[in-house]
């Protein structure tokens, strides 16, 4: 067991910070091709299959880029794409569940959308956009056509489901980390009753409980990536991260009060995205059901 980041992993995260500072446009609520291109050139979008790195390193990239509000579907690009598509992974990947048409993140101009279609997954190149979706959840959304595409083979549906959980959990960890940190910082500065709001025990305990959730989601997700998205580990990460997303987004707004609802106050940038990410794949109840059926398969029912 070793819970420390390696020097290489620390250097990767530090470089990502620099790249985002240099290349990201200030408002990440759109498809940020400059940022995606810069991350790609630096090799940080392709760590999943790198001999000296792997899925855990790719997961760390997803956490960090998400926390920095990068304008790309980083989980789909860094974790799901490499797991499903092999070595040639385009930058703009969408994920969708069967049903036609579907609302997909960054759907306006995707290179490929990977569709969960029962036991198999399908990849549709350059899917047709039917129209943009008006939304205020931090990502550009579009309605896209899901007909056709090529099958990704036997077992690909299951693989997509497992990696999608890990990808979204990693995005949630990044977003929730910053939402919590931002809120704790604000409450430490904001004074009422002659003292910092964050000095009140009632608020401290809410923040501390959120902190436990975020740390729990972080390590469950890293562990799931390390297991290469095993069924039980990925559903634990997915379910726990979704619980974290719900708690953090609602509690951070509760704790910041009315200022938290304003456009000028940055909190919504993380909390709105948390909603979009947590609702994208299987819901929390389905994830926890998957934990149970993975741990206690029907075979135990004899005797």
């Amino acid at each position: 067991m070793d819970f420390d980041l390696s020097d290489q992993q620390l250097a990767t995260l530090s470089s990502i910070d620099s790249i985002v500072r240099l290349h990201a446009t200030p408002d990440g609520d759109h498809d940020d091709r400059d940022l995606a291109g810069a991350l790609k050139r630096a090799g940080f979008l392709d760590l999943f299959r790198e001999p000296d790195a792997g899925p855990l390193d790719a997961e760390l990239v997803v956490e960090r880029v998400s926390s920095l509000l990068g304008g790309l579907a980083i989980g789909a690009r860094s974790l799901v794409g490499p797991a499903l598509l092999g070595d040639e992974v385009p930058n703009r990947i969408g994920l969708a569940r069967a049903g036609n048409p579907a609302i997909v993140r960054y759907g306006a101009d995707l290179d490929v959308v990977i569709v969960q279609d029962g036991e198999t997954a399908r990849a549709i190149s350059k899917p047709r956009m039917l129209g943009p979706i008006e939304s205020r959840y931090g990502f550009p959304l579009a309605l896209i056509e899901l007909e056709g595409g090529r099958s990704l083979g036997a077992g690909s549906g299951d693989k997509l489901r497992r990696w999608w959980r890990v990808a979204n959990a990693a995005e949630i960890v990044g977003l929730a980390t910053e939402a919590l940190s931002f809120t704790a910082g604000y409450l430490s500065e904001r004074r009422q009753f002659g003292r910092a709001l964050a000095s009140f025990q009632a608020l401290q305990h809410r923040l501390a409980e959120a902190y436990v959730y975020v740390e729990g989601a972080r390590w469950a997700t890293r562990y799931a990536a390390w297991t290469e998205a095993e069924e039980q580990a990925s559903s634990i990460a997915g379910g726990y991260a979704q619980q974290t997303a719900r708690l953090v987004s609602m509690d951070m707004h509760q704790l910041t009060g009315a200022i938290g609802f304003t456009s000028e106050f940055a909190l919504h940038r993380w909390t709105a995205r948390l909603q979009a990410v947590r609702l994208e794949a299987d819901g929390q109840d389905q994830q926890f059901t998957s934990v149970a059926t993975a741990r206690w398969p029907v075979a135990n029912m004899g005797g």
Binding site: A208, Y211, A220, V291
Partner: protein, 382 residues
Amino acid sequence: MEFGWAPEERDYRRDLRKFVEAEVPKEWIANPRQRPVVTPDDRTRTLSFNHKLASRGWLTSHWPREYGGSEASAWQHLITGEELWSVGEPRGPQYMNVNWIGPAIMRHGSPEQKEYHLREISRGSVFWCQGFSEPDAGSDLASLRTAAIREGDTYVINGQKIWTSHCQVADWCVLLARTARGEDPRAGISIFLIPMTTPGIEVRQIPNYVEVGSLHEVFFTDVQVPVSNRLGEENEGWQIVRDALKNERVGAPRWERAARMLDAVAIWAQREGRFDDPALVRRLGEAKAACEVARLLAYRVIDARAKGISTSGMASVSRVATARADRLVGDAAMEAYGTRGLIAGSAPDAFWWQALAAGVAGGSYEIQLNLISHQAMQLPAK
């Protein structure tokens, strides 16, 4: 970053499990509730188990060689805790001796204290209890009032301890008592190592719902203790205990016992046809997730401790997650069993009451949240 076990750690767990299967009653393994050492028979059985464990070098494996250990890794010690706590803790209260009382004696004890106590602990021959809490000093432990007044080469101790476990069979008590009164209550506390047979000590069992024989009051009336039984310097007890308990901060490996209880409950529920209830299945899954998250957060503390890195705040994160897991498992177990869980001695019955104690014993859930606020998040005090 690496989440796999080393081959020697896997081998140790396998060997220990074989030992447990041979030495621990099957009923304990099937129903992993805490089993306090109450009767003389309990004591005899526990001592026998400890001697066997010690003879294999597994009781104090992480201790230095000079004190009877083999300098095994923190991970081996964790495995010992997980495997034994999860079958009802057949070591009895040995975890306390091994985890922190022994190490505190190593660091602060006199040569005579080291010679005697470390030998006895590493052999598994001695039971200790811990005289900390008082009726008016629970979470606010520093406000304790049990007084030790020095008279020549002796201290005379008067006061009362409460919620003490294992003291009905304990040979020794590690006692916190006040030796000075000043502005900072933490500055006037000393530690005493006291034989429980000393005249003036009276133990009364407190009837309770968690486990028969698990809670006591201990009264000290003009108890005379030689100065040589003080551990460390006078008035420095608070610091010594605080340092020693850093080794104990993740607490008992409740996540492992909770996970095993959950396995037993889920398999029972399947056989009873209860997996037709999607709400119950979901609930069991949520509890399983909480156990595994708590495990990872505890392992993170063990890893930091093994590397000598400060675990400030991290251990409290682990404790909160563990208490939550215990409660979710207790609750899910009761839901699964329904009214059958109300039968005395049923698996959920014992577990549910003990899960309630997870957020109370050894530093409450709320104290852990305070520590996270201050140590991990650095939230302001005012």
